[in-house]
């Protein structure tokens, strides 16, 4: 029987309110998540607390190795009871962690211009991915080297308004360029982030591009329409409410193409959360 125990506890280092309804929490773990990759997530809950009942899925915003253990970072937005309870945690609080869970983003070595497209809180997993790429963690031989094969990483971040553009400082540290948009025009391009990308795509060599995205369903949907006829690989990280996180409850289903049946439901937790955008089906 395969034993891959990824159940453990963590200690809150800090939990900082970085913008309205947005928090960055860091945890110290000593037993698990050492090899957690961008795109993966954990199920998290305060230890010993029965309300909220279910753990909450949070994608990874950063993973660091320290002498004391593995430090996990999460950037999350308070949307309901579960995330509100997480936002109340303070340094020293203990949490239960199940993870890392799910499939990570797949890196395509022959595509040297990486575009990360995030809407709102979708910035979290893509920021960790940007950092991972900038540090060449997937190719140790080139770590710290300025080589001809160096990747270009462009981050497109959209939000409703300037105040909701969260996490830009981190992105700026790790990306070659940062493009922002707001629905109300209060910062960056006035319009949606997919409209901004559409403008820029015209001037780019598509053969060298690969896209990664995370954000609201409407954004992913317009992205899928935008690149439908284009030959650009695109992976998206999807979000659904989850109970178990390990493919047992079948609560987090999304509709995908299925070769034999036409379509079927996949579990975001176990089959994703990262999917090829061309496999997603929309109602």
């Amino acid at each position: 029987m395969e034993k891959k125990l990824n159940l453990g506890s963590g200690c809150v280092i800090e939990n900082v309110n970085v913008a309205k309804d947005h928090f960055v929490m860091s945890l110290l773990l000593t037993s698990i998540c050492k090899d957690a990759l961008p795109g993966q997530f954990v199920m998290i809950r305060k230890q010993g607390v029965k309300d909220p009942l279910l753990s909450r899925p949070l994608s990874l915003y950063g993973v660091y190795q320290t002498d004391a253990g593995t430090v996990l970072e999460f950037l999350y937005r308070v949307v309901g009871k579960g995330t509100w309870a997480l936002s109340r945690l303070t340094g020293g609080d203990q949490v239960d962690i199940l993870g890392p869970l799910g499939k990570p983003f797949e890196i395509l070595p022959d595509r040297n211009h990486v575009i990360l497209l995030a809407g709102g809180i979708g910035v979290a997993p893509l920021s960790y991915f940007a950092e991972y790429l900038a540090k060449d963690l997937d190719r140790p031989e080139e770590r710290g080297e300025e080589t001809a094969s160096a990747r270009k990483v462009s981050f497109y971040l959209g939000a409703t308004t300037a105040a909701a553009l969260v996490g830009i400082e981190k992105i700026e540290r790790f990306c070659t360029e940062v493009r922002t948009s707001t629905d109300d025009g209060s910062a960056g391009f006035a319009g949606t982030v997919t409209e901004l990308l559409q403008q820029d795509l015209a001037g780019l060599d598509h053969r060298n591009l690969c896209l990664y995205s995370c954000g609201p369903a409407a954004m992913i949907r317009s992205l899928s329409q935008l690149i439908e006829s284009l030959d650009i690989p695109c992976q998206v990280s999807m979000e659904e409410r989850m109970a178990c996180g390990i493919g047992a409850c079948l609560g987090c289903s999304i509709k995908v193409r299925d070769a034999s049946l036409g379509w079927s439901y996949c579990q975001v937790c176990a089959d994703g959360p990262v999917f090829d955008i061309k496999n997603l089906l929309w109602e």
């Binding site: 029987m1 395969e2 034993k3 891959k4 125990l5 990824n6 159940l7 809950r45 029965k50 309300d51 909220p52 009942l53 279910l54 753990s55 009871k81 579960g82 239960d96 199940l98 659904e240 409410r241 989850m242 109970a243 178990c244 390990i246 493919g247 047992a248 409850c249 079948l250 609560g251 987090c252 289903s253 999304i254 509709k255 079927s264 439901y265 176990a270 109602e283």
Partner: protein, 303 residues
């Protein structure tokens, strides 16, 4: 070590801790977290004759001390279960119970026929109580005549122990229990989820696409316990308690009112090792009180 073994209608279990259908996948999902052989039995996700896609999302929402689900019996179908899931389950040394659901009484019979000769299937749990499918499920569990029809048909084609899972969404669960017993059921499990609803007040839409769903978790435990107590007083066959069991003390409450075994459901979602924590807690309780056999606990409610 205390003797925890129980007999469920001819099925011998080394301990009374089983997994509730629909909360434990096909077993393998939990192999990284526990030694599956430590369980009393594994009850797998409900099986239909043909594969079922399940309901459109959103399918779940947390509510006060519980959760609503409307999965809609997404499952691989009986054939794929036999071919793809049983080979793994057969390698375990734990009884595997197949939960079955048909759209009509004939379909229950056909699924039972298919599963009976399959090596490794130790018993059948007949689901006449799923609240989230339009055909079948609770339609047969809500009145005694149709419940009797389904159970007789299943019994006519199988020599495996037949457990019938009852719905709480009825006026008199004990009456349904008696009817099912008279039709030849070897054991009963109760309760399935309680139908419920939750609304998003910003969008003024139901939180579940299916509008209604089945409530599970600690919120339903007092109801489940009351129903088990009512039913054990009316039938002779063993009763398996299900509903909001989160820890060993919840388990003990069910045993004391008269359940011979229990099923752990929603607790598996909160901690994938819940079943083993419960088993250890049960053992500790018995050892502390020098109880040598679990039958010294079952049905010992004083009132």
């Amino acid at each position: 070590m205390p003797d925890l073994s129980v007999d469920i209608g001819g099925l011998k279990l080394k301990n009374p801790i089983m997994t509730a259908s629909g909360t434990f996948g096909y077993g393998e999902e939990y192999a990284p977290f526990i030694n599956l052989n430590d369980l009393g039995a594994i009850i797998v996700k409900g099986l239909s004759l043909k594969p079922r896609m399940g309901n459109p999302p959103p399918r779940i929402i947390e509510t006060a001390s519980g959760m609503l689900n409307a999965i809609g019996l997404q499952n691989v179908g009986v054939q794929a279960f036999i071919e793809k899931k049983m080979p793994y389950l057969r390698t375990l040394e734990v009884p595997v119970i197949a939960n079955i659901l048909g759209e009509d009484p004939e379909e229950y019979q056909r699924i039972a026929e298919r599963l009976t000769p399959v090596p490794g299937v130790a018993a059948l749990e007949v689901n006449i109580s799923c609240p989230n499918v339009s055909k079948g499920g609770i339609a047969f569990g809500a009145n005694p005549e149709s419940a009797i029809d389904v159970v007789r048909r299943v019994k006519s084609v199988t020599d495996l122990p037949v457990i019938v899972k009852l719905s709480p969404n009825v006026t008199d669960i004990a009456m349904i229990a008696e009817a099912v017993e008279s039709a030849g059921a070897d054991a009963l499990s109760l309760i399935n989820t309680i139908t419920g609803m939750s609304v998003d007040i910003d969008k003024r839409i139901p939180h579940l696409k299916n509008i209604t769903g089945g409530l599970s978790g600690p919120a339903i435990k007092p109801i489940a316990l009351r129903m088990v107590w009512q039913v054990v007083n009316r039938v002779k066959i063993p009763v398996i308690g299900v509903g909001g069991i989160m820890d060993a003390s919840d388990t003990l409450e069910f045993l004391i009112v008269g359940a011979t075994a229990v099923q752990i459901g929603t607790a598996n979602f909160i901690n994938p090792q819940s079943t083993i924590h419960i088993l250890n807690g049960l053992l500790a309780y018995m050892e502390k009180r020098h109880i040598r056999d679990i039958h010294e606990l079952i049905g010992t409610l004083k009132c």
